[in-house]
């Protein structure tokens, strides 16, 4: 295992006019770690993720993702990372196979690689029979697992998951988390946001953003001990209310 963090963030800041959406945020994520990036709606998570995925230039500070600098190498970051969001990931009017083909093309994989990886992915997800079904026609739980696998198609070192499990049942959520664990066990670094506080406890470490700053950072066990709270849910609510 390498000691260079997969995500390295120091005093990262983004201002929009007079509003500071992300305010001197500092943290790092180790290679192969599952890092929970938590915060209430509007706390600055999305802005931070947009900077880390090379979509938005920071105002100040520094950050690197998979060894690439977010200021100068944003194009390389986009090619090195995977991204999945519940709101947007797959094209609903394309079939399962066409979606995989499309993303394989975007990431410059050879036709042979795309074919191989498509077959392997469909077999592992048990989706061979749905290869030619439109994505809109398959259940949400399957769509999410497929979207995650597609985000890993080009074998990125770091994958960003933005509310990947919103709206699905407890069993499907757990199956999804097993895919996350599996990816992490094979060395992929995972940064995940969620509104399910029990999922926060599945992460190796978490941060909780409040009003643009990181208000808590550590393993779930450390945070519960240090803040003397029974659960991450209680800590989350307490920090968010203090800020109001």
């Amino acid at each position: 295992m390498t000691t260079i963090p997969a995500i390295d963030v120091h005093d990262l800041t983004r201002r929009f006019g007079s509003f500071t959406a992300v305010d001197r945020v500092t943290f790092d994520v180790r290679s192969g770690e599952v890092f929970g990036f938590l915060g209430a709606n509007g706390a600055g998570k999305t802005t931070a993720i947009r900077m880390l995925t090379g979509l938005l230039a920071p105002s100040s500070g520094r950050a690197s993702v998979a060894g690439h600098d977010v200021f100068h190498e944003s194009e390389r970051i986009k090619r090195t990372i995977g991204y999945m969001s519940q709101r947007f990931s797959l094209y609903e009017d394309l079939t399962v196979r066409e979606n995989i083909r499309l993303y394989g093309g975007i990431y410059d994989l050879s036709d042979g690689d795309i074919r191989d990886r498509t077959d392997r992915m469909l077999a592992r997800l048990g989706l061979e029979h749905a290869a030619d079904a439109f994505v809109r026609a398959i259940p949400l739980g399957w769509r999410q697992k497929l979207a995650f696998s597609v985000a890993l198609l080009h074998r990125p070192r770091v994958v960003f998951l933005d509310e990947p499990t919103s709206g699905v049942d407890p069993i499907t959520r757990r199956q999804f988390w097993e895919l996350i664990y599996e990816a992490a066990a094979s060395g992929t670094t995972v940064l995940v946001t969620t509104h399910y506080m029990d999922e926060a406890e599945y992460c190796d470490r978490i941060s909780i953003m409040v009003a643009g700053r990181i208000a808590a950072l550590g393993t779930p066990a450390e945070l519960k001990r240090d803040f003397a709270v029974p659960s991450i849910d209680d800590l989350f609510v307490r920090l968010a209310r203090e800020a109001q």
Partner: protein, 325 residues
């Protein structure tokens, strides 16, 4: 709880709905009491949304009957509709209208005004009034849901149908939303709500588990949790994922899955005591070289019971022609 059909808020008799060969609802029957906070919990595509649409008189059942407030949802729909508040899972607001415009619009549809409803919506509207001129599309997730609830209440309905009102909303806003529901219930409102969040299911008077168009049981959250019929253990180990895989390989495992910071483990033997199973699981993991092993009895939650009853997950792709979420 006894059931008095005459005063029940909702009586469903063998409701069926088909969109293609597979039924979205395959004969669903239940009764919801007046003043009850009643929850439907189940996987996406399980039939919740279809059921809510039928009860809210915006979709016709293929077979079966349902009464809401003593009126038939098909025959009496025009008499019934003004008495029902319905918050659809998606699209219940106009994103390009402001907060105030949305509220005025929904009031005018029912021939009323915000002023006439003010006393009823005040506890919620007071949190929104400062944003009167903001476009609904520009509100945060939690505020959007409060506005949608306000719009569902503006014609002073007697019963509320809320289809996944808090999906995608952060933990703080979810608590606030449920506090509002608690206050509405205290004021006598009957509330029917669906949710994927198990902590919210626990806040309902009764919960129905729905999967593949069928009810798997209806009971109080306490009774549902208590129905978990074997000793449950919380397993801690330094490498949780590998411990999970190792326990899956054990022939004694009935089920094992991540639960908060631990793994929840149920043994295939129903009779063994929790302590003896805990000792055996500890020995098993230690013998396989796991560090930091700690195994202790756990109290089953609604979520554990849900997982046990649901068994195999959703994912039958053949169900594809059925209603979208």
């Amino acid at each position: 709880m006894t059931t008095d059909r005459a005063t029940a808020a909702v009586v469903a008799d063998a409701i069926e709905k088909r969109f293609g060969p597979t039924p979205a609802l395959a004969g669903v029957s239940f009764t919801i009491h007046a003043g009850e906070l009643f929850g439907f919990v189940g996987p996406d595509g399980g039939g919740k949304t279809t059921l809510f649409r039928i009860l809210a008189t915006v979709m016709l059942p293929t077979a079966g009957r349902a009464q809401v407030l003593g009126r038939d949802v098909v025959r009496d729909l025009w008499a019934l509709r003004p008495r029902i508040g319905y918050m659809a899972g998606r699209f219940s607001l106009y994103p390009d209208l402001s907060v105030l415009e949305n509220l005025r619009f929904f009031a005018s549809v029912f021939g009323t005004t915000i002023d006439q409803a003010r006393a009823d919506i005040a506890p919620i509207y007071s949190q929104l009034e400062a944003f009167n001129d903001r476009r609904a599309g520009a509100l945060s997730g939690g505020m959007k849901q409060k506005l949608a609830l306000c719009c569902a209440l503006v014609h002073r309905p007697e019963i509320l149908f809320l289809d996944e009102p808090t999906t995608g909303v952060d933990a703080v806003s979810r608590r606030e939303f449920w506090d509002l529901l608690g206050n509405l219930k205290k004021a006598g409102m009957t509330i029917v709500v669906s949710t994927p969040y198990m902590d919210e299911a626990t806040r309902c008077d009764r919960v129905a588990l729905i999967q593949r168009g069928r009810l798997l049981g209806t009971d109080t959250p306490q009774q549902i949790a208590a129905s978990f019929d074997r000793p449950l253990l919380a397993v801690h180990a330094a490498d949780r994922y590998r411990a999970l895989l190792a326990l899956r390989e054990s022939p004694r495992t009935h089920s094992v899955y991540p639960f908060g910071e631990s793994l929840h483990y149920a043994d295939s033997s129903v009779d063994a005591t929790a302590d003896s199973v805990a000792a055996d699981v500890t020995t098993y993991l230690v013998s396989r070289g796991f560090d930091g092993v700690r195994v202790e009895p756990a109290t089953p939650t609604v979520e554990d019971a849900f997982i046990a009853r649901m068994g195999a997950p959703e994912g039958d792709v053949a169900r594809s022609d059925q209603a979208h979420s």
